[in-house]
Symmetry: C2
Subunit: 157 residues, 2 copies
Amino acid sequence: METPQHYAELEQLMRSGIPLARAMELRIVGYDGERLALSAPLAPNVNDKGCAFGGSIGSLLTLAAWGLITLKLGERGIAAEVYIRDAELKFSEPVWDSLNAEAWLVEPDWDALLESLSAGKKTRCTMLAEVIGENGAAAAARQKSSFVLLPLVEGTR
Amino acid sequence: METPQHYAELEQLMRSGIPLARAMELRIVGYDGERLALSAPLAPNVNDKGCAFGGSIGSLLTLAAWGLITLKLGERGIAAEVYIRDAELKFSEPVWDSLNAEAWLVEPDWDALLESLSAGKKTRCTMLAEVIGENGAAAAARQKSSFVLLPLVEGTR
């Protein structure tokens, strides 16, 4: 599969390339150029207490951040491997219903990041992602993560 | 299901109560009273690059830590809800084969923790968990996590 240029292609890449994303029944529900929104039903992501499993929450937040980067690269036709390097995850309240997450870039800005990659440089970025809480206001969980992006030279993929 | 008193019961609880653990094909492979060891094959936990998905690694590390606490409580006949509060996860190298993880308690010690719970107090603890690297020496990934343990009074479960 080519680097996805649209979020329907990204959803297809996640579900065909990452069995756990398929098991989570993950779907992309929104993208406005700055934020990527993912959703997953509770049933495949539940824990023994009947609320969302922490591992599902972490996976959803990681996929939202990774997916947004992958999508932005696809739009610009930049081929790169995108690896997560570290993550800080805070759980504020249990989630008793569908999981809804959003991710966005913190630093650098997209122009600087894409320019660095286009110049063939290994590039780092910081992402934030949240699971929206029950009242829609405060986050039920929040993850700050660092990614490493390795540009692929033509023919190396 | 009762609080597990043996790791075969814990594996059953994980696989019946947490669909994602079942999707990961997670197994308990060792327990010596201090460390709990989990394993999962690569195939259901792979990403689009052919190595282990970061969300699977995070889930495995969380389940190892949660599982060890749950098992220790079961051995002492203490009923409590065990929630993850936050996690710091660092990925040092990709994992290209089966995932093998171990978790252990950092603080307080087990005696202090179990005594606090037996006295009916909400108790916190810090856990470490690692995915063993390819050479068996350095960790491929490491997670430090905080848990909150809420004692259950007889009849509340």
